[in-house]
């Protein structure tokens, strides 16, 4: 397992975790969240990370996204080795190279939709690429609502703002943490569609944590985590296929 059986195929690698471990606590109370995980996320690929609660799927994403520290191993984002970076450099990396979509939308209620979308660039002090911005806004269908504040938008609209925010700064990779977790199925399908399209049409790289087989079916590839290890992988997944696989793990988990 220390080699790279779950390497990306063909394309270049956007992010790579090698032998990644994260351990909480010590001795008796030690909890292993990630156990020597090695995985590649290919450029221009939509990857879903699945697994039961406590499998370490969120931790894996947080470590790869530079949000969380890890105990050992290495994470490379493009050419950058994250384990060597201090907080300030990590922050800059997230600002310039990574986009985020959270379960709870996490928009600033004081800013308008447009201001929320351009926030990462405002933080960086960069001017947004106007043409690109319009394209993104167009794609998520927010043109008429740019002046609204988040409280004046529905959940689905808010998450579309969040998707636009992640896309607008043209990051090398977008991480989504249960992006459809707080949405009804229609809004969820819309958001997943945008992500899918951004990968297909714009060549965006997306990594998404989810526990929903339907959401996972939008991805090019699904990796399954259990007990801090990658236990399986599925290419060109379907919702039913993912569900089957999940049931299988659940059963195995119960019998073992």
């Amino acid at each position: 397992m220390t080699t790279t059986p779950f390497a990306a195929r063909a394309t270049a690698v956007a992010a790579r975790a090698t032998d990644l471990s994260k351990v909480y606590g010590q001795g008796e109370t030690q909890v292993v969240a990630l156990d020597h995980v090695s995985v590649d996320f290919g450029q221009g690929e939509f990857t879903a990370i699945m697994g039961p609660s406590g499998s370490g799927k969120s931790t894996l994403m947080h470590c790869v996204a530079g949000l969380d520290s890890f105990s050992s191993g290495s994470v490379r984002l493009g050419e950058t080795e994250l384990s060597m970076l201090k907080d300030k450099q990590l922050t800059k990396l997230r600002r310039d190279k990574i986009g985020f979509i959270f379960q709870a939308f996490n928009l600033l209620p004081t800013l308008t939709a447009l201001e929320n979308i351009t926030l990462p660039m405002d933080i960086a002090g960069r001017k947004p690429d106007k043409q690109w911005l319009e394209q993104v806004i167009d794609m998520v269908g927010l043109s008429g609502r740019l002046g609204h504040r988040p409280t004046e938008l529905s959940g689905g609209q808010q998450q579309r703002v969040a998707v636009a925010r992640a896309l607008a700064s043209q990051p090398e990779i977008i991480f989504g943490d249960e992006p459809t977790g707080n949405l009804d199925s229609r809004s969820g399908a819309e958001v997943l569609g945008f992500l899918r399209n951004s990968v297909r049409d714009l060549g965006q790289t997306v990594v998404m944590v989810t526990h929903d087989p339907v959401a996972a079916s939008y991805a090019d590839r699904v990796i399954f985590l259990a007990d801090g290890r990658i236990v399986d992988e599925m290419l060109k997944p379907t919702a039913d296929g993912v569900l089957d696989r999940m049931k299988h793990f659940d059963a195995k988990g119960r019998t073992s």
Partner: protein, 843 residues
């Protein structure tokens, strides 16, 4: 209910910290004041009671007090009273063990540099009157011996310490005119009241004292009762032989009177301090209200759940009030303990600053404990009452909703209307002539503006946008965050505003006043120097004559002041050298001129002239108080009076015949070559380098008054510092709440790339915006109030015009910005420390 409340308090320990601190400081201020004044008063009383130990019965001239400056006005005309003969007679009374006579009066002592020792008021000389055993019970000699001849002088131990004089040193001193020298024969401790209050006391032998202090008889004769004779028995025995217009008073009575006097002065001191403590507590109310509003808002669901399971509105309110009670109690108890520390600290601070407070046990009166606890608890519960009521209004259904109900704008509409009406009312009151109504108006406006602060916060903070622009996105977020909860921002800023309004208003008035005095001194006084006694006692006329003969002096005139009635109205009548007077002052004549001031003539100030319908050329009857004789004087001119030059002026020849003893209030001197160190030196030398004589140029005169104004201003700054400090805690509190409430947002910002330094900057900028909002409001309101108060001052001080102390105000704003930075230190740090992960996940 009580248990839930207790659990809540314990659960929110950290968030209640600032509230507890605010109440604690207020209570500490109150209890510190009470303990300090009680302790101080008690020690003073004990000590002064001891100083009456040797007095069973005191015989005093009617209407005199034991510590009067020794003025001997009209003494010569009275029949002899407290003479040596009477003292002998009193001593021989059956029941009297001993008798001592005392005299005292102003005595200036020069320190080693020739400067006056001690203040101008508390420098007293007295006599050493040996009793039978050769000792004077008033003085306890620690070094050397009592003075025995005119060549001897004894100093109190504090004066000796201060000046460095030792037994055997030669000391220069002066009482009313000439400078004398004497050798220090001894140093003594004393319980004399003026020394306890920080003055200095020197003692001469009996004959010398009476001679130099100009006393033909004693000021007071103290009798000590023999064993077995009561004070009252001795008193009635003395009363049989009392000379006319004297009184016999028992020692107990004297001691009681003294105690009453001390009580009175300490209670007025504590009242002043308590007013400022009250302001501090008032400011604290805003913090408490903010905190409880937040706690209630955060527990909306929980409180709704309680309502859903059957708690009544009253029970919900009560649970909030019980929490407030617990918080108030903790704060009051710690505040009380801190207050005792404050009292002890205040005492040692004042001692190290030069005041020698008498030692005594710490007095913690039961009322102090009750007052401290009551104030802490009541203030906290009062401030929590509104949030408590709001909590009760939460509908049970809110338990099911996930979204917090946002405060409706309707509340603000009502609030703004009420605020506007109150401000309008306040302005009307403020523009009234009556001082009390005006002060009331100022307070009403303050209340109105406090109510309006949420409304004012929006335009103000919007106006700050250009200033925040350079900070980019953090500046923008800080600005938007600070108007997110207008009520909270407003009450935080209002807390700061209150202190700054008072400080600014007082600074404006004080600056304008100092400026007015400068103008007055510069404008009306042409003389280069004024010469007077250091204690403003009368000056011997020889001084004026001596000065007039000096070659360096161009012109000089005494101000020889008498009092009398002009057509029935009481007035000050100053005799001046009519020829020189024009050179020494500039009078603004409404009619007539100085030229007419010759012979039986008089200058009248406009105020008196208007009141008595007098005009130039009239003849007016002036009845002199001292000899009850009337002089008919022709009015030579009417002039515009001011604070320095007022009353009637006549040639010396008019005043002199009416005075029993010719003395001058001061001498005005104009030098040939203006003011210079050399010129001043010439005067000092001519007057024999006399420590009792004060020579001031115009600067010194305005500095003297300006210095007093400045000192008072600084004291007020000090007293208001507590209110400011509590307001700063309020800013810390608000920011900490904001950071806590927005930890998700901050976590998201950290995740998408805002680094720690920028997060800190964002919190810091929010803090500065809120602080400056309060400061600008306070300064603006303060200037307005300074203007309003100044209007009424201007009526009585002609040269008063409003001066806005721009430098000071800029300093206040700079300090407010600094306060913002400092208040943000802790909240900014905890915001920056937020882990982006925790913040995203937690819900």
């Amino acid at each position: 209910m009580f248990r839930t409340a207790l659990r809540n308090v314990l659960a929110h320990k950290a968030r209640l910290l600032m509230t507890v601190l605010a109440v604690m400081l207020g209570v500490a201020f109150v209890s510190g004041t009470l303990v300090f004044t009680d302790t101080f008063g008690n020690a003073y009383k004990n000590k002064s009671a001891k100083s009456f130990d040797h007095v069973s019965v005191a015989v005093q001239g009617e209407g005199s007090s034991s510590y009067d400056g020794g003025g001997d006005d009209g003494e010569a005309k009275r029949p002899p009273r407290l003479t040596d003969a009477f003292l002998e007679k009193a001593r021989d009374l059956p029941g009297a063990e001993s008798a001592i006579g005392s005299v005292s009066g102003f005595t200036a002592v020069a320190d080693k540099d020739g400067k006056l020792v001690g203040g101008e008021w508390g420098t007293t000389g007295s006599n050493f009157y040996p009793a039978e055993n050769g000792k004077d019970p008033r003085y306890d000699f620690t070094e050397g011996a009592a003075p025995k001849s005119a060549a001897d002088i004894a100093l109190d131990s504090r004066t000796a310490d201060r000046t460095g004089y030792e037994v055997g040193d030669t000391v220069r001193y002066s009482t009313d005119g000439p400078v004398r020298t004497a050798k220090v024969s001894g140093v003594f401790d004393t319980e004399d009241g003026s020394v306890l209050a920080g003055g200095s006391l020197v003692v001469f032998d009996n004959d010398t004292a009476r001679k130099v202090l100009g006393k033909t008889e004693y000021d007071e004769i103290d009798l000590k009762a023999a064993a077995g004779t009561s004070e009252t028995a001795l008193k009635s025995a003395v009363e049989k032989i009392l000379p006319k217009s004297t009184d016999a008073v028992t020692g107990t009575q004297l001691s009681d009177d003294q105690a009453d006097m001390i009580e009175e002065s300490t209670s007025s001191m504590s009242q002043v301090l308590l007013i400022f403590a009250g302001i501090a507590l008032f400011v604290g109310i805003f913090i408490i209200a903010n905190t409880f509003t937040m706690l209630v808002a955060q527990r909306t669901k929980e409180l709704a759940l309680m309502r859903a399971v059957g708690a009544s509105r009253r029970q919900v309110t009560r649970s909030v009030l019980i929490e407030a009670f617990l918080v108030g109690l903790v704060a009051a108890v710690t505040g009380f303990v801190l207050g005792i520390g404050v009292a002890v600290g205040l005492e040692s601070l004042m001692n190290s600053a030069g005041a020698s407070l008498p030692d005594g046990p710490l007095v913690v009166a039961p009322t102090t404990i009750v007052v401290a606890l009551l104030i802490g608890v009541v203030v906290t519960m009062l401030a929590a009452w509104l949030p408590g009521r709001r909590a009760a209004k939460i509908p049970p259904v809110a338990a099911m909703n996930s979204v917090h109900a946002t405060p409706t704008t309707r509340g603000l509409v009502v609030r703004n209307t009420i605020g506007s009406i109150i401000v309008a009312l306040g302005v009307v009151l403020l523009l009234n002539d009556d001082n009390y109504v005006m002060a009331g108006g100022a307070a009403v406006i303050l209340v109105g503006v406090i109510i309006l602060t949420p409304l004012l916060s929006r335009p103000f903070i919007a106006a700050s946008a250009p200033l925040l622009k350079p900070f980019g996105v953090t500046g923008k977020l800080a600005r938007l965050n600070s108007v997110r909860n207008p009520r909270r921002t407003a009450s935080t800023a209002a807390a700061l505003m209150i202190g700054l309004t008072l400080i600014t208003a007082m600074t404006v008035v004080a600056t304008s006043m100092s400026e007015a005095i400068n103008k007055m001194a510069a404008g009306s006084l042409k003389a280069d120097y004024t010469v007077s006694m250091a204690n403003y006692q009368p000056l011997a006329p020889e001084i004026g004559e001596k000065l007039d003969k000096l070659p360096e002096v161009a012109a000089s005139s005494p101000l020889r002041t008498a009092y009398g009635e002009v057509d029935g109205s009481y007035s000050q009548i100053s005799g001046v050298d009519a020829e020189a007077f024009g050179e020494l002052v500039s009078l603004d004549f409404t009619s007539g001129s100085l030229a007419g001031l010759q012979g039986d003539s008089v200058l009248v100030d406009r105020h008196t002239a208007d009141e008595q319908h007098l005009k130039t050329g009239d003849t007016v009857a002036v009845r002199f108080e001292e000899d009850d004789k009337t002089a008919k004087l022709r009015i030579a001119g009417v002039y515009e009076q001011n604070e320095m030059i007022t009353g009637l002026f006549t040639p010396l020849s008019v005043v002199d015949p009416h005075l029993s003893k010719i003395t001058d209030e001061q001498v005005l001197v104009k030098m040939e070559d203006g003011t210079s160190a050399k010129a001043e030196d010439a005067i000092v030398k001519a007057l024999g380098d006399n420590p009792a004589i004060k020579i001031q140029d115009k600067d010194a005169i305005s500095n003297e008054i300006g210095g007093a104004i400045n000192m008072m201003l600084n004291m007020l700054y000090g007293l208001l510092a507590m209110a400011i400090l509590i307001a700063v805690l309020g800013v810390v509190n608000t920011l900490a709440m904001s950071v806590f409430e927005r930890k998700h947002e901050i976590g998201m910002l950290r995740a998408i790339g805002l680094d720690r330094a920028k997060v800190k900057q964002m919190v810091r900028l929010e803090s500065i915006v809120i602080s400056l909002f309060g400061a600008v409001l306070g300064v603006g309101l303060g200037v307005f109030m300074g203007w309003a108060v100044g209007n009424s001052v201007a009526d009585s001080v002609a040269t008063y015009t409003m001066e806005v102390p721009v430098g000071r105000i800029a300093l206040f704003l700079a300090i407010a910005a600094l306060v913002g930075v400092l208040a943000a230190v802790w909240p900014a740090r905890s915001a920056a420390r937020l882990n982006p992960l925790m913040a995203i996940k937690a819900e």
